[in-house]
């Protein structure tokens, strides 16, 4: 049989895989492995790397068949590896065998990935990061501290950006690596957040080692590689669409229906306004997918990330106002953290409460690029407006004031 090309052929190929590896009876790793081997993990990847060289949009055909058959989504199992690590290693990995070695366990979910970008001193200004990587024989030796690292406590691999040259301007002194998290020089500690849980971690790097073969892109070209990861992050965060009335707005509708005693004309108008925003956001994502050309995620990812984050907050604020006094109750601030990719993540946990989700939504406009940074991106990269005057772009990194 020739490889699938059309949407119908991709659908049929996926059906064949789920027929042979029934999601309801075989382990998830077996199903995902079979999808990878059939080129259905990322259909836009090259053949041999979990793909078929097809248009990115056709992945939705695969996902729909797998979901209908009762299977999980690879993205849900290994969000950072599947959504951000894979596109980055495919674009920048020069050793194809090594890339394939990384990709298959990402697809199967056997090896979770995390992203080692942010630092205590480098949040929005992530290119100002201070973690150092110094060459030592065939290896690099890494020292520094990373923060806000989702899944680091269960991750086997990390996407690391480190400073390899402090004597040049900040963007030019960075290099991108894949680091093995399973080594003595890597220490992971939970980072507790305002909900009481610890979805994130701090990662301390003490003389951690990375073989030079795990470098992605040239020495000093790490910022370009990081942009690939970040564009995929924003696209992944803002890009999840469902049916009309699904997601947080669906929770608000359910709550509204269940509390006729608390309904007022003013709240009704607020909810109608929120529903309208949620619906135009959902339809805008559908439109973006229709008009998107195959290839890298574009600026529409930044639009949807910004809109989705602010909408989430407004929807949960509405829910709290609708609940009234009950909104002020909370089922304990005990520190909890999950040990798989979904555990501990508030919005992925069906058992989390509305009050937890409300508190969690404060992070929506911070994580993956603050709304302020998103508006700068829209202003400068989409509208072409001039940048702010800067005091750091032409100076050696080590001379730029920090604090």
């Amino acid at each position: 049989m020739s490889p699938p090309v059309t949407a119908d052929e991709v659908e049929e190929a996926t059906r064949e895989v789920v027929r042979r590896h029934d999601p309801r009876t075989v382990p998830r790793t077996e199903l995902f492995g079979a999808l990878y081997d059939a080129g259905l993990a990322w259909v836009h990847h090259p053949v041999g790397l979990g793909g078929l060289g097809l248009a990115r949009g056709l992945q939705a055909v695969v996902d729909a068949v797998v979901t209908d058959a009762g299977g999980d989504q690879m993205f849900a199992v290994n969000p950072i590896g599947y959504g951000m690590g894979a596109p980055t290693v495919v674009e920048y990995g020069s050793d194809r065998e090594l890339v394939a070695r990384w990709l298959r366990p990402i697809a199967t979910g056997e090896e979770i990935w995390c992203q080692l970008f942010s630092e205590p001193g480098a949040g929005s200004d992530v290119a100002g990061l201070a973690t150092s990587a110094v060459p030592d024989g065939e290896d690099w030796v890494v020292n520094g501290q990373k923060v806000w690292t989702t899944l680091a406590h269960v991750a086997r691999w990390g996407m690391l950006v480190a400073r390899t040259d402090p004597d040049v301007a900040k963007h030019r002194g960075l290099t991108y690596f894949v680091i093995d998290m399973d080594q003595p020089g890597v220490e992971v500690r939970p980072l507790r957040q305002m909900t009481g849980q610890a979805e994130f971690n701090e990662v301390y790097l003490h003389d951690a080692r990375v073989p030079d073969t795990y470098r992605l892109g040239d020495v000093g070209a790490g910022w370009r590689v990081a942009i690939t990861t970040l564009m995929n992050e924003r696209s992944a965060i803002g890009g999840v669409t469902g049916r009309r009335g699904s997601g947080p707005i669906g929770e608000a509708l359910g709550l509204w229906r269940a509390h006729p005693d608390r309904q007022t004309a003013v709240l009704r108008d607020r909810l109608a306004r929120l529903w309208t925003r949620a619906e135009t956001h959902r339809l805008t994502l559908a439109r973006a997918r229709r008009t998107a050309t195959a290839g890298q995620p574009g600026p529409e990812g930044s639009v949807s990330k910004l809109v989705g984050a602010e909408l989430n907050q407004d929807v949960y604020e509405f829910c709290m106002d609708l609940l009234g006094p009950d909104a002020l109750l909370y089922d304990g601030y005990d520190l909890r953290r999950g040990d798989d990719a979904t555990g501990g993540r508030v919005h992925a946990d069906p058992g989390s409460t509305l009050q937890q989700r409300f508190l969690r939504s404060r992070a929506n406009t911070i994580e993956g690029g603050t709304s302020e940074v998103m508006r700068n991106i829209l202003g400068e990269r989409v509208l072409g407006l001039p940048g702010e005057p800067r005091s750091d772009s032409d100076r050696p990194w080590k001379e730029v004031p920090r604090g």
Partner: protein, 385 residues
């Protein structure tokens, strides 16, 4: 197979380009200013060129009635471009309201003769009705019909002062009546009123025992009016997108050219972030307007009345907000008569009120969605302390 929603055809792209070029050449700002001070408020010859040369006035009208046989999505592309250029002329009265009402009305001699003339742009029409609320099955106009004899006053009718023919909506003994009235005939007084939006004027229409040619009554008239208001709602939303998108473009250009404190004002985040919000608004509005046009064309896709309500609620707010922000970001020059920002701002104010306000459409949305939630809807888990 029909194209999937949001597909843009090459014909639509060509139409957009052709209209943009036409407007740049024949309907620049100086033309807008000249026409808004003219007797009719628009250029009849230019209107006829839009109809005949470009075929832009009846894209969704069947070919045997003088149209292009396309869809409301095609007509929405035209409405967006004509809105962006603030084209004066009876876009709302003729193209948005009267033509769809006539297409949906039962075939008759007067209707079949009039439609090709409106499509060609050689004659114009206005719908005389209550045009400041969503259509709800009852005629909002204070005009009554006894057979073909019409009496009453409609105080705020856009595009009526210079219209060649009036399509009057009246209350009859058996529900709504749709009748054609000649403006010059006995018992008809049409008086143009000073209008906040000088590019689309309001008139007062007074009928005192005027003779009308009845085109539809009862259910037939209701069907025609429903179709008319839906189509006009989708096209007005597209016009609002055109206005907002053009203002965003102009304001971005200005923010890159205007220097204060030794740098372009667009480099200040206070300005840049407002422009980013304008962009977000334009993208959401464009989606809502397109979805409405698609749903009016193909009711299988979504409830067209709900889709139009979403579009009107969204686009009225976005176009107004973007216009207000455009004035603000232009600073002093944006408040002057010589700068065109106020012309767009006034159109945005008028468009937001026409066919009903965002609030009224949100009430429609609330009734359709919130008041009709299924009883088995999942309720989120709430902490109980």
């Amino acid at each position: 197979m029909a194209d999937a929603e949001f597909t843009v055809t090459s014909e639509q792209q060509e139409l957009r380009t052709a209209l943009r070029r036409f407007c740049e050449r024949t309907h620049d700002e100086a033309t807008v200013r000249r026409l808004m001070d003219s007797d009719d408020g628009f250029d009849r010859a230019l209107w006829a060129r839009l109809g005949t040369e470009l075929g832009a006035l009846a894209l969704a009208v069947p070919e045997d009635l003088g149209g292009a046989g396309g869809t409301v999505v095609d007509q929405a592309v035209a409405a967006e471009e004509l809105g962006a250029a603030l084209v004066t002329g009876p876009l709302l009265g003729t193209v948005g309201l009267a033509v769809p009402a006539l297409v949906a009305a039962p075939a008759s001699g007067p209707r079949d003769a009039l439609l090709p003339e409106l499509a060609a742009g050689t004659r114009t029409a206005a719908l005389v009705a209550g045009l400041f609320a969503p259509y709800d099955g009852a005629t909002a106009a204070a005009v009554s019909a006894e057979g073909g004899v019409l009496s009453g006053v409609a105080g705020h009718v856009p595009d009526a002062a210079a219209a060649d023919v009036l399509l009057v909506v009246a209350d009859g003994p058996e529900g709504p009546v749709l009748a054609l009235v000649e403006p010059g005939s006995a018992g008809v007084t049409v008086v143009g009123r000073g209008s906040l939006d000088p590019t689309r004027r309001i008139a007062r229409v007074e009928l005192d025992g005027a003779a009308g040619t009845v085109l539809a009554t009862g259910d037939d008239a209701d069907r025609a009016l429903r179709r008319s208001f839906r189509t006009a709602g989708a096209l007005l939303a597209a016009e609002q997108v055109g206005i907002a998108a053009r203002l965003l473009e102009r304001t971005v250009a200005y923010a890159g050219q205007r220097w204060q404190f030794g740098r372009p004002i667009g480099s200040f985040q206070a300005v840049k972030h407002r422009l980013a919000d304008m962009l977000v608004g334009v993208e959401q509005a464009r989606t809502a307007a397109l979805h409405a046009a698609w749903a009016v064309s193909d009711p299988e896709l979504d409830d067209p009345d709900l889709a139009v309500a979403i579009a009107q609620a969204t686009c009225s707010e976005v176009a107004y907000r973007v216009a207000a922000d455009a004035v603000q970001l232009h600073g002093g020059i944006g408040f002057t008569w010589e700068h065109p920002a106020h012309l767009y701002y006034k159109r945005a104010v008028a468009d937001a009120a026409l066919l009903g306000s965002a609030e009224e459409y949100r009430e429609r949305i609330a009734a359709a969605v919130l008041d009709a939630l299924p009883a088995d809807l999942a309720v989120p888990r709430v902490a109980i302390g």
